[in-house]
């Protein structure tokens, strides 16, 4: 990045540690770059990219800050969409890359001394447990409320959350009552599954609190179920692995 | 407790009496405190000064009239508008059965002055204005209200209220 790096920086003996004087010289050269007025980039290596990945584990984010950010994300997704399904698809797409990255990050941080630190789940159940505990705790500070396998279809799994954090401040207008903004979280789940090598035929978020009369609505009006439908080849592999193990 | 001003409106919505007890120490206090905040104050001052006393009375009547109607609408016909308070002052209101309106502006910490306003009406206005044989029945333009006895009575009554 330095526009005029000292000549010795390109010397073949690059691996030998620089002397203090040389380091200072380099720093001085870096400082000569006049910072652009718009974007401020700290020169003292304090960006989040320079931080150790295992640190800032317990760093928490203001819920209000997330609330406002999510408002803008939904506002952005809402532009040029036709209908609720389209909007949910866009939210899902926004969450997907986050899931991919979180899988890597959380596996790197996972404190398993016996095994290799970045061992990804290879069976469905460990993967889902990873999602409902590790991922959920990282994102929302608590585990998911339930994990079930669909009785009707073997390829469907359901994670339920009584009160999704992303929906804390959201009141869906009546004309869009089918919309569940936790589709964003569904996208995150899809990203994690995909990244771990479990292709899905889609992850979707559904309301279950409503419509259940007095029973369902009373306790958890915002209860949401994330429906995960794995691809056929994943189930095939699972079967083979089950026989072998 | 400090009293800023006092108004009487008759049933024709006209202001028939007004009096101000405004301390004017701001010229001295302003010099004593040459802070930067005084610049914002001086920006707002000319706009305030532009309003004459008569305009003030009209605005007060409009305010009081609207609030009284709101109160009657919400609380029913037997409800009575008593007072309102802003960050700077408090306005006390009393309406006689003949729809005369007595209004007093004080500082914000003053308790309700409905009783005081009632006494001004009963002991001063009725005694010195209504019972005055030289005073007309109605008071267009305030004729006959600000007579010597009423002024003196009001002054001494207000100072006695201020002391207590």
């Amino acid at each position: 990045m330095n526009p005029a790096p000292p000549a010795h920086a390109h010397a073949p003996s690059l691996k030998t540690p620089l002397t203090t004087a040389q380091q200072q010289q380099q720093l001085a050269a870096g400082r000569n770059v006049s910072p652009s007025p718009g974007l401020r980039y700290p020169s003292n290596k304090k960006t989040i990219y320079d931080r150790n990945l295992s640190r800032s584990k317990n760093a928490e984010l203001s819920r209000a800050a997330f609330g406002y950010l999510f408002v803008e994300m939904i506002g952005y997704a809402q532009r040029r969409v036709r209908g609720v399904a389209d909007l949910e698809k866009r939210l899902n797409a926004q969450g997907y890359p986050l899931g991919l990255k979180l899988l890597d990050l959380l596996l790197t941080r996972s404190p398993l001394p016996s095994t290799s630190p970045s061992l990804r789940p290879t069976r469905i159940l460990p993967l889902l447990q990873f999602i409902t505990t590790t991922l959920w705790k990282h994102l929302f500070g608590r585990p998911a409320d339930a994990l079930e396998r669909s009785a009707a279809n073997a390829d469907e799994y359901m994670i339920s959350d009584n009160e999704p954090l992303v929906n804390t401040y959201i009141s869906v207008p009546r004309e869009m009552s089918q919309l569940n903004c936790a589709a964003y979280v569904a996208g995150v789940i899809e990203g994690v599954c995909d990244g771990a090598g479990f292709a899905t035929r889609g992850v979707s978020a559904h309301w279950v609190g409503e419509g259940g009369g007095e029973g369902g609505k009373g306790m958890w009006p915002g209860k949401t179920v994330f429906l995960i439908r794995f691809a056929d080849e994943v189930l095939e592999r699972e079967e083979i692995l089950g026989k072998n193990g | 407790m400090a009293i800023y001003s006092f108004y009487i409106f008759d049933r024709h919505t006209e202001c028939i009496y007004s009096k101000r007890w405004l301390q004017q120490p701001q010229s001295s206090s302003k010099q004593a405190r040459p802070t930067s905040a005084s610049t914002t104050a001086s920006v707002e001052m000319p706009a305030r000064k532009a309003l004459s006393a008569a305009d003030d009375a009209k605005l007060i009547f409009g305010t009081v009239f609207s609030l009284r109607n709101i109160v009657k609408k919400l609380g029913g016909e037997d409800d009575a508008f008593l007072s309102y308070r802003t960050g700077d002052y408090k306005l006390h209101y009393y309406e006689t059965p003949t729809r005369m309106k007595f209004v007093m502006l004080t500082d914000t910490k003053t308790n309700n002055l409905r009783v005081v306003l009632h006494q001004i009406w009963a002991n001063l206005y009725v005694e010195f204005v209504v019972k005055n044989p030289l005073s007309p029945v109605e008071h267009p333009g305030g004729i006959g209200v600000a007579n010597e006895l009423f002024e003196m009575g009001l002054e001494s009554f207000v100072s006695s209220v201020l002391v207590s």
């Binding site: 401040y169 959201i170 009141s171 207008p173 009006p221 | 305030r48 609408k73 409800d79 802003t86």
Partner: protein, 160 residues
């Protein structure tokens, strides 16, 4: 005595946007006269105007000593006249809170209700949470947020 103090009787809550339009209107306890929605709209508009007048009526010259905040940190809002804050009548008490952006909250309570300031603060919190952070709410438009309604109910009814 303590029981009476904790009791909260809120008759109604009105929210008026900065243009004087009524954007939220809700009754909690009966006690005020029933009014049509049109009457409420008129009330909001009238109050908006009266509020502006009461702001300009201040008998005190606007000096920094007027509200005794000259010692505190300079703020652009310190010297601003506030307009009507509390209105008392024989049957109710009206507390008005204006946000720095000009939205007004009108709370109608019983005449002797204590701690209305705290109630107002809490309602403002609920508003900023469930209305302002709702992606489907357009600023200055009528408030139709289910969670705002529900949280208000929970707050007002639990305390009463």
């Amino acid at each position: 005595m303590a029981i009476i103090k904790d009791r909260l009787v809120v008759f109604a809550l009105l929210v008026i946007n900065k243009a004087g339009g009524l954007i939220y209107n809700r009754e909690f306890h009966s006690g005020l006269n029933k009014m049509s929605s049109n009457d409420y709209l008129i009330l909001a508009g009238t109050f908006h105007g009266v509020h502006a007048i009461t702001k300009s009526l201040s008998p005190l010259p606007r000096t920094q000593s007027a509200n005794g905040t000259s010692a505190s940190a300079p703020s652009p809002f310190v010297n601003r006249p506030t307009g009507l804050e509390v209105l008392e009548s024989a049957h109710f008490r009206l507390q008005c809170f204006q946000t720095v952006t000009g939205t007004k909250f009108l709370l109608f309570t019983e005449p002797q209700q204590p701690n209305v300031d705290n109630v107002m603060k809490r309602i403002y919190e609920l508003y900023s949470d469930y209305v302002m952070k709702n992606p489907f709410y357009t600023v200055e438009m009528p408030i139709r947020c289910e969670k705002f309604d529900r949280s208000l109910d929970a707050f007002v009814k639990v305390k009463s």
